[in-house]
């Protein structure tokens, strides 16, 4: 009897959980269904399940609708930017965590305080600068800007991880005759690899989704990243909801796939700034 009572008490909560799941997950299922349906089908019955799976829409999106080039641009920009920012950031974090030097407090303060800089403070002048140095409307320019904007967060996270590595390891390495760079390369990085990986995933997702800098700094259709490509299709020449949905899937899929395999790491990465 008490068990039964306990279960009935739980019903509202379970209903709430179910409702939350429908609200968060439902839209994804909806878009998934739309991505393999054609626009006329969608406009006939927006919520029907696909009668026939129009996989060829993905082929069409990839080739004629340019999503292939958007995807490639996004990949190039994000992979290079994440690689650069993590290497550069890790080196700086290592120096901040390992060495005492005059001005380290200032460096730390500067880097960390710029984490709450509104992008508008940067974007207007970055726009002028990029232009002056011929980096406007180029993927290289966007990569540099991405490295610069993600650097503070990266240094901040890695520094706090690196600082937890026991000092004894470094002393021992030094006695063994390791150079400063070898200490970084052979001790800090391998030991903090999980933390580095967390930082990589965090940066990857933030940059994969980035919109504001991209919309200001890229204009040529052949240079657009995925978020811009989708936006362009949305306000585009023809009404093609089905194709937009296919584009949305192309943008979501890599993130969801990563999430399926590394959900814990990604959750840790995304929340790393708030919980240390």
């Amino acid at each position: 009897m008490r068990r039964l009572l306990a279960y009935t008490r739980k019903i509202p909560r379970l209903a709430f959980i179910l409702a939350c799941t429908v609200v968060t997950g439902g839209p994804f299922l909806w878009v998934t269904a739309m991505s393999v349906r054609t626009t006329p089908e969608i406009l006939d019955h927006p919520y029907a399940l696909p009668k026939r799976l129009h996989w060829e829409k993905f082929v069409r999106a990839w080739t004629t609708a340019n999503y292939g080039s958007y995807f490639w641009n996004s990949t190039v920009v994000v992979v290079i930017a994440v690689a650069l920012v993590v290497v550069i950031g890790a080196m700086a974090a290592h120096a901040l965590a390992r060495y005492r030097f005059c001005g380290s407090g200032l460096v730390r303060f500067l880097i960390l305080s710029s984490m709450m800089l509104p992008p508008q403070m940067l974007i207007l002048s970055l726009f002028q600068m990029m232009f002056r140095y011929g980096l406007y409307n180029s993927l290289s320019g966007l990569i540099i800007v991405y490295v610069a904007t993600q650097l503070p967060l990266t240094v901040y996270l890695l520094e706090s991880f690196f600082a937890q590595i026991p000092q004894d390891l470094f002393d021992a390495a030094r006695l063994d005759g390791y150079s400063d760079f070898e200490i970084f390369w052979r001790i800090t990085l391998p030991i903090a690899l999980p933390a580095v990986f967390t930082t990589v995933t965090l940066n990857f997702i933030l940059l994969w989704n980035e919109f504001l800098y991209a919309v200001v700094l890229l204009t040529d259709n052949s240079k657009r990243t995925l978020p811009l490509g989708i936006m362009q299709f949305m306000g585009g020449h023809q009404l093609d909801i089905g194709m937009v949905a296919t584009g949305l899937m192309i943008a979501i899929l890599p993130v969801i796939l990563l999430y399926a395999f590394f959900s814990e790491t990604i959750i840790r990465g995304m929340t790393a700034g708030a919980v240390r």
Partner: protein
């Protein structure tokens, strides 16, 4: 140390790769930046002319970069002040700031103007010089569904123009029959929602006062303006527009008109064809769609009921900093031959700024083009829609009020007029230009 060298080497490679993008315009390449990347007919035509020019000059390469208008404007706004940018670029009438800022070369002596309609050339006449070569010309038209109009028991008068009272009756009857009278939405553009209102203002006030209204020298409180606003308000209240007018996008409005759920009318520039005359699978109108064109309604006591808006659309300018002005001019001349003009009309189904013999226009939409020409008979033209020639705060207010919220039914006549006066009416101490800098 090994690592230090390795790091430096990597950094060097990265740096080189980053700077690679800089030097591109060497050699004899004519660069062109154009809007309308997603209008295949226009792309094909401009690329065709480019290939022709390359044939005439074997050492030359003509490279057209295709943009969307927003991207193009941003790119130009940064490139031109730096003395860079393409040799030739797309320009439309709301972008005279490139000219007034001195980034455009005057074309009077560079271009062979004999092929271009004089009035079209006039559109680019600023300070006594001509600054761009017009290619596209369009008029604002009121498209309608012939079958639905007949079904509602209306017959179009011989002059294709209803009076304002007949028009109101049409809206009421359509609504009563459960048909949306006017398909239109203001979700993603700054002009379509205002068509009915601006065209009524043009007919009521006549070209001169209509111009004054938008250059800030005539108040929106003028009784004739208030009359027009009240009439449009009565249409709105009678349910002239779809319920989702506020968020409906331009492409959706087309689909709404000729596919589903269908509407009696669609006010649109004559570039309607760019969306409608494509295969149904790509969002075009059904092949058997009974498309007709009527005049915007005549206003009671209208100063100019035969007035229409005709605007120069796609045009091309030559960068003042270009080193190949002669070649650039040759490209534009080749684009303005009667042959290309005819090709334009037959593939784009839109008027051309090039003097073209329209009597022989064939193709599958020849009948459409003939009806379009019929609607031009006896018309008196005003150049451009307000969104083409107003700027800054006035444009922002126009977009929010006349294009969106007023036809959306959110504002009273008084409030709309008050807001428009705040945004645009600058008579007295401030000139129209200062509306940009509050």
């Amino acid at each position: 140390m090994k690592y230090l060298i390795a790091t430096c080497a990597v950094a060097l490679v990265v740096a080189l790769w980053l700077w690679r993008g800089r030097a591109q315009t060497d050699g004899l390449t004519l660069t062109i930046w154009s809007h309308e990347a997603d209008e295949p007919a226009k792309v094909a035509l401009r690329e065709y002319v480019a290939r022709q020019l390359e044939k005439a000059h074997p050492a030359l390469r003509v490279k057209i970069t295709w943009y969307e208008i927003d991207g193009l404007s941003t790119a130009l706004k940064t490139a031109l002040p730096a003395g860079q940018g393409p040799d030739v670029f797309y320009i439309q009438s709301d972008q005279t700031d490139y000219i007034t800022n001195g980034y455009v070369a005057p074309l009077d002596d560079l271009i062979d103007w004999s092929n271009i309609y004089d009035w079209a050339r006039q559109a680019w006449l600023i300070d006594g010089k001509t600054w761009a070569v017009p290619q596209e010309v369009y008029t604002d038209e009121l498209y309608y569904n012939k079958r639905l109009l007949a079904q509602l028991g209306f017959t179009l008068p011989a002059d294709a123009q209803f009076t304002q009272d007949e028009f109101f009756e049409l809206v009421e009857k359509a609504r009563a029959a459960g048909i949306t009278p006017i398909a239109q939405g203001a979700g993603d553009r700054d002009f379509p929602g205002a068509y009915i209102l601006t065209q009524a203002l043009l007919r009521k006030l006549g070209p001169e006062d209509y111009g004054k209204l938008f250059d800030g020298t005539l108040s929106f409180s003028d009784p004739r303006v208030a009359d027009v606003f009240r009439w449009v308000k009565s249409l709105v209240d009678a349910g002239a527009y779809p319920k989702n007018f506020m968020t409906m996008k331009l492409a959706e409005a087309h689909y709404y008109f000729y596919q589903r759920p269908g509407a009696v009318m669609l006010p649109m520039g004559s570039w309607y064809t760019g969306r409608a005359f494509v295969p149904v699978d790509d969002g075009g109108q059904p092949p058997d769609f009974p498309l007709g064109i009527m005049q915007f309604p005549a206003m009671n006591g209208g100063a100019c009921n035969e007035c229409k808006t005709r605007a120069v659309g796609a045009s091309f300018a030559i960068n003042a900093a270009s080193r190949h002005k002669e070649l650039a001019a040759e490209y534009l001349n080749r684009m303005s031959t009667p042959e290309i003009g005819k090709r334009w009309i037959e593939t784009v189904y839109l008027q051309s700024a090039v003097k073209t013999d329209v009597s022989s226009i064939g193709g599958s939409y020849g009948a459409y083009y003939k009806e379009l020409m019929d609607r031009q008979r006896g018309a008196k033209y005003f150049p451009g829609d307000p969104s083409d020639f107003i700027h800054g705060q006035c444009l922002d207010t126009f977009t929010q009020v006349m294009n969106t919220s007023f036809p959306g039914g959110l504002l009273s006549v008084e409030r709309a007029i008050e807001l428009m006066n705040q945004g645009c009416y600058t008579a007295g101490d401030r000139g129209a230009g200062s509306a940009m800098n509050p």
